[in-house]
Amino acid sequence: MTCHDTRESLSAFLDAALAPDERREVEAHVDGCAECRRELERLQQTVALLHRVEPARAPVGFVDRVAAAARPLPWYRRAAAAVFLPLSVKLPVEATALVMVALLAVYVFERTPALQEAAREQAPRQEPGAQLADESRQFEPSVRRPAPTQSAPPARSTAPEPRSQDRRDPSTYRDDSRPPVPVPAPAAPVPAEPPPAAAPPPVAATPPPAAKPEAPSETTVGRGARPETESRQESVGRAADSVRAAPAAPRLAAKRAQPPADVIARVAVKDRDAAEHELTRLIARVGGTATQRRREDDTTVLEALIPQARYAEFSQGLAQIGTWQVEAERGDLPAQVRVILRLQ
């Protein structure tokens, strides 16, 4: 082993980090080489000096500062953690979002099907709506005429024009909040329109032809059954059902629609104006409210809500005004009896 090789290994020799055979070689060389022996001593003294260096001590409070720094994360790290990090945060947030979307979907579903269903039922229900006009006529056979007559034009002069059209279009009944049932049909609007170009819309035009074939049978039933209360009630019920089903176009309006008439009566009076006046007072006396009034050429239709408790008093009062005849009456009267009177 040369001096150079030996000196390269002296440091490891001091640390006893040499393999046994290498160590023996170094020992042998150092024993015989004064230069390398001195080099080994100097190196040993240098290491001894290094070992005299006192170990450094961390400043007082260092641990506390480190602990304080370790506890709260910087704001940007906390923000990053909130946005990106733990699944325990992300998962509930995503689940909540999913539930909210689901709730929204259900809400929309709750709304939309109602509309869709109403739209679906619109077509079939228009027919009962058309029948309604017919059924309503059976309560007024005296007024009934073979549908389109030329007596219409004079009628139009007294009766407001849109109403006759309304009667024909069941979809507009609810908007007008008028019961469609007992209105006399003095005019068939389709032929009555003065200029043929201004014919009513197709919807309004369809009911009369559809109703015509049924008219005779309905009329006979109506006439024959007039004294029979049950039949009347049934008719009213059917009319009521029809009215409920009728308003297809204003579907949402139908939900808050008024109930159909509970009592339909004809009152024969001498003086319609005077009778109307008395009737208004009578309604007020029994605590009722007049909801509609309509004057036609030979009939005044008056609609009112009468408290059921005072309905008897109302009918007595009515008998004093004129000769009245019930055309239709519901079996079980509600708390607020909806009465339609036709003064003639």
Partner: protein, 157 residues
């Protein structure tokens, strides 16, 4: 316990108490955050030495170090030391020379001699801490000691 060792390595490597404190604190915070990565087969001290050594070498290499304030170390020690003034002076002269000599070593040699002669790690531990071959550790240590021997000649008997 560990804080003194970590601070000691940082102080010897960076040569400045304030900077050493910063580095030591950062080393502990990194260790705290990366505790999950700590492998049980290594000693905790070895792991901490590895973090600290890497941190210090990175700082030294980055050139972002603050200027070393001269005499700061000696003043710190004088203030802390309760021994007789002449002994303090004598000791501080030697320590200043030692500190300076260590500080003048190339960084690669300096970290090896600090870990071996000041911190007492074995060659194998140093190789593990610095991720070096055993032979590299051995030769670097020898070079470092030989340099120090030359620089500290006047303190040798």
């Amino acid at each position: 316990m560990y804080q003194h060792r970590v601070f000691g390595v940082a102080l010897r490597m960076l040569g400045n108490a304030a900077e050493a404190q910063e580095a030591a604190q950062e080393a502990f915070l990194r260790a705290h955050r990366g505790l999950a990565e700590f492998r049980g087969d290594a000693k905790l001290s070895t792991w901490l030495y590895a973090i600290t050594s890497r941190l210090c070498l990175k700082r030294l290499a980055s050139g972002e170090r603050r200027l070393v304030r001269q005499g700061e170390e000696a003043l710190l020690r004088l203030a802390d030391d309760g021994r007789r003034p002449d002994a303090v002076l004598e000791r501080s002269e030697l320590e200043a020379a030692l500190h300076r000599a260590i500080a003048e070593l190339p960084e690669g040699r300096r970290i090896v001699v600090v870990l071996r002669d000041l911190e007492g790690l074995t060659y194998e531990e140093i190789a593990q801490v610095l991720d070096l071959e055993l032979g590299t550790v051995r030769s670097r240590l020898h070079r470092a000691r030989a340099d120090l021997k030359d620089k500290l000649e006047r303190f040798l008997p």
